[in-house]
Symmetry: C2
Subunit: 223 residues, 2 copies
DNA sequence: TTATTTTGTGACCGATTTCTAAAATCGGCC
DNA sequence: GGCCGATTTTAGAAATCGGTCACAAAATAA
């Protein structure tokens, strides 16, 4: 949960008070509402994460959710509303691993744990990872404000922390920003490029990604 | 140029002999044909690399190319044809850096040069990188055959080479496949997630990506 | 020049897409 | 049962999609 979340949610709403699609105004959601909104969001996550915003259609989402198309629009104010809701939900969880990186902990442990958490997320939530990748690939048209107001300050804070650890001689010399980029890219790769990875890892068994990345970043960061 | 290329091209064609859109059958292309096909492909690269196959429209491409929609379809047999042509062109150049990795060279030099070439490509051809990323994100529906027939054998060959270097004690212990994934992901990140990187690197100057990646992989690979 | 081929366009088609309006149906509650 | 709000469906409007076609304009060959 971050400060920017409710702001985005608020900005995005058309502020109509008449639809059950607005969890802010509708005090109490029915069981059916909760169930169907969940179904729709789950189906939409499949579709948006594969085809991107422009490539996704309400028909695809409706079929995947097992609901009629107008019924989808009974629960959400439109395609944009669904997509924005997904991005907002994503924001709630996406930065958690980075937030958890603790200034009080042992630097190497903290960073290797962070790698582990990011890799777990890529493997447990590949659709969310691809949804994010799609949004950034398209130039982050809907998420740039959140990147600036939410991610950037957190990023700067953690870069400063890593730099401090380096200055204290507790980590090897590394550019903190590029280090974080390397952690993000190597971990998310297994979700975003799953189709390619699956083809290439076919055949004889390979070392798990986890041990490779742990070894790599340990070597990189050990002073 | 790979064996699979002509096969893919062949499969995709409707084999009509009447359109200038088929560079295989039309012996000599006029200047106008070459110029307009170039314009269309350049515009289509913009659109496809941003919005993906389903999200892109012929209207967008036509506007970006400065041509009318029917005129686009005079030069190409359809949306699919344009996209496939782009992917085929991409294949011609995308694997070159990996191919160049030389069994006769010094292992560390070869791998660090490979990192450098991949990073150069990400910075010089970001649209191509995003086109590729989009295709894989969507499950590689059009490229999986090429991944299997073209990339996989090359990948296995280079993995074996790296493993041999390791066995000879000329490189540190590393899983070759995951090493290559790490090289791909870290370099392509700067093209595919450019929108995010641009936001986060704003402010005080940072070390260039090149020196970070060079240092990182040198440290990882030095025995 | 004329004849012919190449290149380009406006009008249009059927299918798809987002979204609305209104009627029909469901589910509880008295 | 009968009422009332919540849910769902039917019907379709309006715009956009990929693609076609007849024909005009321009380039080229004779």
């Amino acid at each position: 949960m971050h400060a920017g979340w409710y702001i985005l949610q608020f900005d995005a709403k058309s502020m109509s008070m008449t639809s059950p699609s607005d969890p802010q105004t509708g005090k109490k959601q029915t069981r059916i509402q909760r169930r169907n909104r969940m179904r729709i969001l789950d189906a939409a996550l499949d579709v948006f994460s594969r085809d991107g915003y422009r490539g996704a259609t309400l028909d695809q989402i409706a079929v995947a959710a097992g609901l009629s198309k107008p019924n989808i629009l009974y629960y959400f104010n439109g395609k944009e509303d669904i997509h924005l809701t997904l991005l907002n939900h994503l924001m709630e969880t996406w930065l958690d691993p980075l937030i958890e990186m603790d200034a009080e902990g042992e630097p190497l442990d903290e960073l290797l744990s962070y790698v582990q958490r990011k890799l777990d997320m890529a493997q447990d939530l590949p659709r969310e990872s691809r949804l994010f990748a799609n949004e950034i690939l398209q130039g982050a048209p809907r998420m740039r404000p959140h990147l600036i107001r939410g991610l950037k300050p957190l990023f700067d804070e953690k870069c400063a922390l890593i730099q401090q650890w380096i200055d204290e001689g507790r980590l090897a010399q590394v550019d903190p920003a590029h280090l974080i980029f390397s952690i993000w890219s190597t971990t998310q790769h297994y979700a975003d490029f799953e189709a390619q990875v699956a083809v290439l890892l076919e055949g004889p068994a390979h070392e798990p990604a986890q041990s490779h990345l742990a070894a790599m970043f340990r070597k990189l960061l050990t002073p």
